[in-house]
Structures are given as structure tokens and as C-alpha cells.
Amino acid sequence: MPFIPHTDEDVRAMLGAIGAPSIEALFDEIPQSLRVQGLQGIPEGLSEMQIGRLMSERARQDGRPLSFLGAGAYEHHIPAAVWAITTRGEFYSAYTPYQAEASQGTLQLIHEFQTMITSLTGMEVSNASLYDGGSAVAEAGLMAVRAHRKSKSLRVIIPSTVNPNYRRVAISTAGNQGLRFETVPYLRESGCIDMTALGAFAGEDIAALVIQQPNFFGQLEDVDALTDWAHAEGMLVIAAVNPTSLALLKPPGEWGTKGADICVGEGQPLGVPLSSGGPYFGFMTTRMEYVRSMPGRIVGRTVDLEGRNGYTLTLQAREQHIRRGKATSNICTNQGLLMTAATIYMSLIGPAGLARVAESCMTRTQQLVAAMLRQKGVRQAFAGPRFHESVLLLDRPAVAVLRALEDQGILGGVDLAADYPELGSAILVCATETKTDDDIERYANALGSAMQAVRAA
């Protein structure tokens, strides 16, 4: 019996101790009318050898195309040590560290994570993770409404330069509590928030402004001006950031005169594989003054009976298992193992390494864009500084060009038609430190022939 250790003798002896005639008798409190006879729709069990073969075949089917996709999930080198340690049973198969004395490893690791991520984002406190970047934006909106001391407004501005899926998750998640998300267009020249359009909200009662940096298009927003404007209007500022970029970009805690109030983001770039979209982890940091409004678990340092250093979950009165219907969020299980991987990644890569990764991403993306622009019919959508993504306009239908690239084993970019139809035929491309001169050359050549093939069609 897979994973069940009982011998026939065990079963007999155990039933004897219980005083039951059979295992079946243990279910005698369930009404007979409800009992199910077998699970006919489930296939027969497989041995480990058989499942290994099946999964290997399915993996092979998916292959390893050369990818220039980003849009919220990024291909980075992951040091071998990251997952070798993360999948140790003592991390992998432990529960949430409620029994602190038996969970000091996980607790200290979370404390180290909190230290690294608050420093990276320039904030004061962090939680132990949320589900992903999208849910972190949603939770930040709810938190801003809760934490705002002067406004009771349920309105949050989330500009169109924020990842469209983050906007969708925010609406699906926070809309049920009455939050209303207002949008602001971007400028066609820069791909950045239209400050004039934003200015139309001046004087209105709004809880918060979300600023994504770099924004969904990869462009760099004028975060100082945006932050100061929002603060002057009495709004809180929610920063949504890429952690890799923070090796080079000003941390949200230093935006404008006073800094952002809440910072969130997708933690995936820090040592988490792409894996079709998850598991990833969302991070959230804030200032000390808002710590009691923060959702999720938080670890604090303390001492034990003998005065020794130790770690424990703290401020639990915010959480559902204590506060029930009045908790800051219903979150319980988070994305602990991915936060573990990220902590090991940040330790291995260090401050210099993270800067090197970020520089390499920028360099490769600039190289990629230059190579693409050499092809006929390709234009840059936006001027101005960017990090490691860029929008390119094609004079052929993006769908057809991307399909032609796929046939050559290349994932050439994300088609923006569904979310930004006004751009026409537009793709979002990304290159990270994983791309080589040869990769970029191969892509540029393939793009050239794909454009021609589509032209000919």
C-alpha cells in the first residue's frame, strides 16, 4: 500500500484495541445513503518508476524554448545551493512555526528575510510573505484603506501602467469589501503615468495611489513627483516594485520627500523558478507606524526563560486564528518555502551580485532592443529610461509574428493586444542576465525572417 505502513497484523491488533470488528465499522456514523462505492473516475495507481516515466515524457513534450518573456515573471540564474537547501526535509516538510521552540530554524530564517527585504525596499518592517505579486497589491489596497488615519475613502488609484493582472486581482479581491479602483492613462510618448490626467483627482478623497516601478512596460516612472503629489493630496503611496531592480533603483522608502508608505512586489526574481506561474511569493514592507495594519505573519526576536536569544511569531492579534472576523486578512498559509529560497538566494548573491544581475539585465535588454530595431518594420513604442523590459511596435500582426518565432523555438514576447489595444501591434520583450550574445543574435535573425514570412503571407 503506497505510503501506508500497516501490516495485516497491525490492523488486527489496532482494531482489537479499539474494539471494532473492521475498519469499515469506524465509518458507522456516516449515513449509509451518503456512502460512495469506489472512485471509478480515478485511474489505477502507478509505481514510482511508472510515474517518473510519465512525467518525464510530459516534461519533454513542453521542451525548453528560448524565451524573451517577462511581464511579471523573470528568468534568472538560480544558484544550485538555493534549492538544494530549500528542499531539505527540515524546511520542506515543516509546518507553520507555531511551536516556536521546535521551529527556530524557520523563525530565524524569516527574521533574516525580513531584514533583507526591508533594507532592499528602504522600509522598516516586513511580513513573512503573501501569495504573489498580484495578491500583495490587493492586500496593500485593503491595508491602505484600513491604515489611513484621516480618510475613510474606499477609493484607490491604480494607473494603467500597473501590471493588468495585478489590477484584476485587486478588483476581484478587494472589490468585495467595497474598494473602488480608479484608473489613470499613460502618456503615449513615455509609457509613464499621465500626470495631467492624474491631476484631475486633486482635491478628492482617495485612500491611496499605486505606483509600479519599473512599470508594466519596463519604463521608469517619476516616483519622486508622484509620491509627493499623492502625499500632498492626503493619499498613502503603495509602491509595487521588482526586487532585482532595487539593486540599482531608489528604494520606495526614499521616494519623494517622505517615502512610500507600503511597498509590495513579486518575489519570484529572487531564486524562484518560473514554473508556469507559481508557487511564487508576494512581499510586503511598510513603516513601523503601520505594522499593526499589516496582514500576514511577522517574526520578532525575543529571549527565552534563560535569557537566550530566540525568535517567535508576534503581533498575532492581527491574524485570523486570534481575531477571526476582525482580522486584518484571512491569510493563513502563505508562501514560506519560496521566501526561504529567496533568503538563501539573497545571501548567496549579496549586494554586489544583485547589482551585477540588475546591470546585466539592463545591458542585455538594451542590446536586445537595438538588435530588434535593426529589423525592418520594428519601432520602439516609448522613449525614456527603462529597466529590463521594453515595448516594441511591429508593422505586422504580432500574433502571426510570435507564432512564426515559436516555430523556430523562440518565445518572442508578450502580445499586448488584449490589454492595450490602442498600441496596435505591440509586444513586450525582456532579456535578463541569462541571455547571451548568441541568443540575442538568434532572436534578431529569427525576427527578421518572421517579419518577412508574415509580410509574404
Binding site: A73, E112, R301, E406
Partner: protein, 496 residues
């Protein structure tokens, strides 16, 4: 257990040290690239990340791991958490390089292997729960609860039934239930359970009405017993126009024996990290797939995997106009779902039915033996489901020994503590769930430890008060942790 504490990673740090092999090669163009960032947008100071060697990192985090209890090292009878063995094959085959490298926005044509696993997982989950349709999107149990209650709300709204905003929750429910109802903009009404642990039917009848959106139930309940009046509960709630939500936290108890769909539930979430053995990871990730009856199917969260002939694809959002929407940036915890898929395929039809049987056998065995050894059961005349409750109320009064003391002392005997002080309804409770993957010898050793602790309680209660003694730390000062918040590491010289 290892008594030596591990210092902070930051204390290993030395300026200029680095794990160089992990850095991308220096690029001559880098300086020019960075120059394109306007000065005002640039970072000035370095972030506080450790400057250490690769070996420093490997030793530090390996040592930290050794300070933990885990399923791989210890029996972990944590009630309501289903800490069963996480098969190594599930991890290994979910981490095949092609699966790890696949970008979430890669086209369907380059994900047929992955998508076929997801489609088959949806189908298998429908079969074991008796529900009409499944979405794999939610990333944890509470996230699945959110999806479920949001669907109930969307269903009533779509019918123009706008008054229905009350969610009924039994008082023994997980804290996530009322917290979820609040997150969905609903009002929570708690109802009592009777002396036998079943829902108080009279109280339920009084609670339902034109404002009832639905009821959230766990069955078997958090009291470790099967809700025997479930059919009557379903009749009453449905009769009042409400829907039934099934919290799948305890699905392990009834896997292959009875299905939530057959009990009359309209929507359920499944904790794949419990019943389907994906790891808990020290706090996550989980996966909280949701299943629904036909009337809620249009409201399922996106994305959902569909099949056209031999081709698997994501259903477009336009095909799901009434969906409650998107709950994750991409598709939820794909890697966790792959592990659950592998587990279900390895167990197969028969293996899956055995899960409920042996989880129940182990729980009833442990319950019978502990009762015989002098422990008081919260519901002595009931069968255990896959878990059961011991109450230390008598010992607390007579010997001044609490459930917490027993829990902490168990750590010294090498066993993780059961769940303590939940459900709140039972005073001084220990909620014990052995799971099906534990052997009789392990259960016997746990019983011996419990008997020994009961002996200590009678002869040397003070000893229990001071437990644990063999862990890396003794009992921690939680009050100080909350009052003097130290939420990040500070260098010693700046802490003063």
C-alpha cells in the same frame, strides 16, 4: 536535539567577500547601461544583504534547518493540519527542468504536457469530491475559502437577491472562516454545536432567513467528529435560499468514503497541502483548489484548463463572463498542483480510498489507547474521524498542568505537539491527528510519551511548567516580543 544556536547570517558578513561563481560575468557595456537611469531615480546606499561565501551560506542555512522539527524527522500529530509524509517522487518529478523553466505566459502549444496534468488533476478532484467543476487557481485554503464565498455572493447577486449577505459559521470553525466572510463583505453569524459535537439544529433554524447567503461547514468538523445531521443541515439552508460551503481542511478523513457533493454542498475548497500531501514548507505554499455544483460553475475563478479534442488550453476570460475573476497574477501555485497530481496518480483509485480508512484507523487507535491510559476525551461516545480531542481540563484543575505544558513537554520526547487551544470551544484541548502514514510503532511510542508525561504531571508538575528542556531554546517571552518589537536584525553597536 542540537543545543547550539546559530548566529545571524549578517554576523558572518565581511566587506568584499562574495560567492563569485553566482555572479554574471562583468559586462563592459554595463556602466553605459546604468548611466541611462536618471540620477534622481538611482539607489545610493547598498542594501543590507550579507557578504559571505557560498560555503558560509550552505552551512548557515543547513544548521538553521537542523533547528526545526519536520515530518521527515519527527512525528507531527498536529490536528487539522494533516502532516502526512510528502513523497519524494512528488518533489523530484514536479521539479523536472522543463516544468521549472516554463514561463507562465508561454503559449498553450508549448505547455501541452503541463496542461494535460492540470486538466487531469481537475478531473480527478471532481471525482473524489463529487463536484461538477473545479478551478485550481486559489493558492491556499483561506484563498479557496475566499473564492468560495465570493462565488456564493456572486450567485445571489446575479439573481438579484441582494439582501443575502450573512454567512453562518459554527462556533468551532477555523478562524479563517469568519475572516473570509468579512473579506467577502459579508456579516458573520456564529451558531453553537450541541453536546455531541453536531450542529445545533434549532439554532440553525433560527439563524437562517432571507439574509442568509450560506453556511460554512467543515465535515468531519474541527471537533474530530462526523457531522451526522448534514443532510438536515443541507435541507434547512437550501430551504431558506442559502448555499452550503464545504471547508476541505478535513477531507483526508473521508477520502474515498463519502463525497461533499453527495452531502449537498454547493462549493468546496480542498487543501492540497493536506489531503494530497504537498509539503507545508514551514508555512506554505499550499493550494486551495475549489469545486462547485452546476449552479455555481459560471462563477469559478479564472484561469481554468479546458480541452478541445486532444488539445489542452486555458479557457479565455470571455468564455467565463460571470467569473468572480482572477485571484492570482498567473495561474496559482502550479508547482504545488503538479505535486498533488503526481501523488494522486501514484495512489490511484484504491490507494485513495485507503487514505481515509487508515487515517481513521490510526486516529481511533490512538484515541482508544490514550483514553485507556487515563486521558479524558472531549467526545468519548463518538467515533474519531481522522483526528480527536483530548481535554486537560481535569488535570488543569487538579494538578495545575495545562494543555500547553503537555504540548511543550512532548517536544522533549521528540514529538511535535498536537494542536493546542483549538477549537476554542473545548477547554485545555489537544487536537491530535496522526495521519495514515504513521506506523503502529510510532503511535505506540507517542502513547508511551503521553503516559510518561501524565505521570510527571502527577509527581512533578513543576517539571512540565518549565518544559521544553532539550530544544534549541526554552519557552520564549512572547510578551516581550510584542512589546519591544525587534523585527529586523541590527548590528550590535547600533542597537544600543
Amino acid at each position: 536535539m542540537n543545543q547550539i544556536l546559530e548566529k545571524s547570517i549578517f554576523e558572518y558578513s565581511r566587506p568584499g567577500r562574495a560567492a563569485d561563481a553566482q555572479h554574471p560575468p562583468q559586462n563592459e557595456a554595463a556602466a553605459a547601461a546604468v548611466e541611462t537611469i536618471p540620477a534622481a531615480l538611482r539607489r545610493r546606499g547598498k542594501p543590507l544583504l550579507p557578504e559571505v561565501s557560498e560555503l558560509d551560506v550552505v552551512r548557515h542555512f543547513t544548521r538553521l534547518s537542523q533547528l526545526n522539527f519536520s515530518i521527515d524527522t519527527n512525528f507531527y500529530p498536529l490536528g487539522s493540519c494533516t502532516m502526512k509524509y510528502n513523497p519524494k517522487a512528488c518533489n523530484q518529478y514536479a521539479m523536472l527542468p522543463e516544468f521549472l523553466a516554463r514561463h507562465p505566459l508561454a503559449p498553450d502549444t508549448q505547455g501541452q504536457g503541463f496542461l494535460s496534468c492540470m486538466f487531469e488533476l481537475q478531473e480527478m478532484l471532481k471525482e473524489v469530491t463529487g463536484m461538477k467543476a473545479v478551478s485550481l487557481n486559489p493558492m491556499a485554503g483561506a484563498h479557496g475559502e475566499f473564492a468560495g464565498v465570493a462565488m456564493i455572493r456572486a450567485y445571489h447577486r446575479a439573481r438579484g437577491d441582494l439582501a443575502r449577505n450573512e454567512i453562518i459559521v459554527p462556533e468551532a470553525a477555523h478562524g479563517t472562516n469568519p475572516a473570509t466572510a468579512t473579506m467577502c463583505g459579508c456579516i458573520v453569524r456564529e451558531i453553537p454545536v450541541d453536546a455531541q459535537g453536531d450542529v445545533d439544529i434549532e439554532a440553525l433554524k433560527k439563524a437562517v432567513g432571507p439574509n442568509t447567503a450560506g453556511i460554512m461547514l467543515t465535515n468531519p468538523s474541527t471537533l474530530g467528529v462526523f457531522e451526522r445531521k448534514i443532510e438536515e443541515v443541507a435541507r434547512i439552508v437550501h430551504g431558506a435560499g442559502g448555499l452550503l460551503y464545504y471547508d476541505g481542511a478535513n477531507l483526508n478523513a473521508i477520502l474515498g468514503k463519502v463525497r461533499p457533493g453527495d452531502m449537498g454542498f454547493d462549493v468546496i475548497h480542498m487543501n492540497l497541502h493536506k489531503t494530497f500531501s504537498t509539503p507545508h514548507g514551514g508555512g506554505g505554499p499550499g493550494a486551495g483548489a475549489v469545486g462547485v455544483s452546476a449552479r455555481l460553475e459560471p462563477f469559478l475563478p479564472v484561469p481554468i484548463v479546458g480541452r478541445d479534442g486532444d488539445h489542452y488550453r486555458w479557457l479565455a476570460e470571455s468564455e467565463r463572463p460571470q467569473s468572480i475573476g482572477r485571484l492570482s497574477a498567473f495561474m496559482g501555485n502550479a508547482g504545488v498542483l503538479l505535486r498533488a497530481y503526481i501523488y494522486m496518480r501514484m495512489l490511484g483509485r484504491e490507494g485513495m480510498s485507503r487514505v481515509g480508512e487508515f487515517a481513521t484507523l490510526n486516529a481511533n487507535y490512538l484515541m482508544a489507547r490514550l483514553q485507556a491510559a487515563g486521558f479524558d476525551l472531549a467526545y468519548p461516545e463518538r467515533r474519531a474521524s481522522h483526528e480527536f480531542i483530548i481535554t486537560m481540563k481535569r488535570q488543569a484543575k487538579e494538578l495545575n498542568v495545562t494543555a500547553m505544558d503537555v504540548a511543550k513537554r512532548l517536544l522533549d520526547y521528540g514529538f511535535h505537539a498536537p494542536t493546542t487551544y483549538f477549537p476554542l470551544l473545548v477547554p485545555e484541548c489537544l487536537l491530535i491527528e496522526p495521519t495514515e502514514t504513521e506506523s503502529r510503532e510510532t503511535l505506540d511510542a507517542f502513547i508511551e510519551a503521553m503516559v510518561a508525561i501524565l505521570g510527571e504531571a502527577q509527581t512533578d508538575a513543576a517539571k512540565l511548567k518549565g518544559a521544553p528542556y532539550t530544544m534549541p531554546v526554552r519557552r520564549l517571552d512572547d510578551v516581550r516580543a510584542a512589546k519591544q518589537l525587534e523585527l529586523t536584525w541590527k548590528p550590535v553597536n547600533s542597537a544600543a
